[in-house]
Symmetry: C2
């Protein structure tokens, strides 16, 4: 396991742990994501359905697995946050005065740095999906695509 | 990479590929999930906020990362679908007459078998979260927990 933040680079209030060296499961990337954002500071805090058009390029091996996807209006996209730090339990996001537990925020820095965005599907051209709603870096590795389903009986709105 | 469905076990209309043997990223499980469902046939098709109470047990190493989570009404939970088949591009879910592209359905059988559920948080007791809305097997390995944020400008409802 890589991507550990060394003790000396912690901000005040942050806390890191020693990660295990063993892995429990393995991922294979299935494509990559093209967005307008070239570094983390440029990325929006959260994607928006009226944000810029982004592309999801699916490896040709997996292109047949897109069959039927064109019928869906919104998708859940999973991707690997390849610039993340993985060993923080408490972290201090910019603009906050108190450290936050890693699971209480949507920071990319987490033990398994997987991003999940719900996007609006505009069109599919061959192995390329054009979507709106992403907020990740250009070149982000793709993990999965599935139809979005809203939680049932969502009384939290 | 394991969990390949051999040619001879494919249903009519299903299509499998040969997975690469190399991994692009590694996961470390951070806990496990307790639900009432002991085998795949018992699991509901989709979780519900008025479904049964389930528990998410976070490894003690990661317990400090729960700080602040109690303020959230709904969470996104990511978990590893440990009984999934990973090499199907077309698959035939029970009850369908035509094969479906893997990315066009929410089947657990997918190249990177990660489940995402939005759950309602009832309470946190130490390293255990009590939630409603899961639909996964008892003993499912936990990958991540984060606050749920609805997509912005969701005009798909």
């Amino acid at each position: 396991m890589e991507e550990q933040k060394p003790e000396g680079q912690l901000r005040p209030g942050e806390k890191a742990i020693d990660l295990r060296t063993s892995a429990d499961a393995e991922l294979q990337f299935i494509g990559s994501i093209r967005t307008p954002w070239k570094n983390r500071a440029d990325c929006p805090r959260q994607g928006s359905f009226d944000g810029p058009l982004c592309s999801i390029e699916v490896d040709e091996t997996w292109q047949p697995a897109l069959a039927g996807l064109e019928a869906e209006a919104s998708l859940d996209v999973l991707y690997w946050l390849h610039q993340a730090t993985r060993n923080l339990v408490l972290q201090m996001p910019r603009g906050r005065s108190e450290p936050a537990g890693t699971f209480s925020i949507r920071s990319p820095n987490r033990p398994n740095p997987i991003g999940v965005s719900t996007v609006r599907l505009e069109r599919i051209i061959g192995n390329r999906l054009e979507v709106r709603g992403l907020d990740c870096l250009d070149g982000t590795p793709l993990i999965d695509i599935k139809p979005h389903r809203r939680p049932r009986f969502d009384d939290s709105r």
